[in-house]
Symmetry: C2
Subunit: 218 residues, 2 copies
């Protein structure tokens, strides 16, 4: 589920320790954050010693990077779609629809990214080559990817705000699904709602379905 098997150097990992390390690290990184989580803590929960972790991973950073690999892949994929010159204004909408579907699948990973973006950036700055080694493709921080586009003077400030905003809405929606306080949420329904919501924000598509109880007198 998390990683493809047979990715690292050595022999077959019969007991699946590597996967368990990743799963538990993901839990802890989401709960406490990367910096606040020590290798001792991870090892304890996995049921091995610190040294054992170093058999499976070269460093703590590498655990973080391995977990973020799917996120990076998602972002690379996103970039390719955005750079496709097929359409002008509709491109962004098409992209968002795709993203919404992706987000429903990877919501937990994205939550981890959201909580550890700062730490990931630090790792990124400290050892860019180490990041490169982990996944081919352009070595861009996901966040930077969109900032570049948002700086494009071809868009008005209004457009840029709404583009950045629509992205934020999607992420917030994904976050909503992850919070236990928000109750169980049907991913499919959430995706459907998000797609309509971003259309309202971006003022495209169907004019705007009115809410049933009018919340504010016009």
């Amino acid at each position: 589920m998390l990683v493809r098997p047979g990715s690292a150097g050595g022999g077959a990992d019969g007991s699946g320790t590597r996967e368990r390390i990743l799963a538990i690290a993901l839990d802890l990184f989401v709960e406490q954050g990367y910096e606040e989580t020590s290798l001792r803590q991870i090892a304890e929960r996995v049921g091995v010693t610190k040294a054992a972790l170093y058999y499976h991973f070269r460093s703590k950073d590498e655990i973080l990077l391995t977990l973020h690999e799917p996120v990076h892949e998602l972002m690379r994929n996103a970039m390719v779609r955005l750079e496709n010159p097929a359409s002008g204004g509709g491109m962004w909408m098409t992209f968002l629809d795709w993203l919404i579907d992706q987000v429903a699948v990877h919501s937990r990973l994205l939550l981890m990214y959201q909580r550890n973006a700062t730490a990931l950036g630090a790792v990124h700055r400290k050892d860019p080559d180490g990041v490169q080694r982990h996944h081919r493709g352009p070595d861009v921080e996901p966040e930077q990817l969109f900032l570049r586009m948002l700086g494009d003077p071809a868009f008005s400030l209004d457009d840029r705000v709404r583009m950045a905003g629509s992205l934020a809405v999607v992420v917030a929606g994904a976050g909503l699904a992850m919070r236990p306080a928000a109750g169980a949420v049907d991913p499919a329904e959430l995706a459907r709602i998000l797609k309509v919501a971003v259309r309202d924000l971006l003022r495209v598509g169907p004019p705007t379905p009115p809410p049933l109880p009018p919340p504010l007198p016009a």
Copy 2:
């Protein structure tokens, strides 16, 4: 600007070292994050030794908490406004308008919070009393404050998504203004745009201005 003078224990701080510590810590916390920033680094940049920092602050955590005090105050203020039973649906819009104005003023502080929410949460969990001591009022993490409301079953999932989304749009807009890559942004114009945008997302107010012509007919 950042803190009220005469807040800490000792005598008058003639040279304003305390304020300089806070200002520089803010810079570093925004740039690198709280965990990645060491006291040595702060002291170096201020031009004093590590020990000097401990004259002004009891711990590293206290520096973070002091910086977040205005943020907490903002959140407490927000909660009071939201719990005001004056209006039903319009309440949220009124609240957002107020928030947008506040965000324009405190954008830098909010960016710090956004980047260090995880670290702040860790401090929060580790020493809740220490947080309490810093600012009277309910001891709630800002993030938790809204999650509570978003869990209210009185709202449909669609409403909740749009409420959470509108909040995210405001935060994203503030973030946009802080990024050098996004170019200079007039805060007043940004605020105006945001207020219209969240109305579109929440489907209240003026029906929906079209994209191309000037989007504010008042």
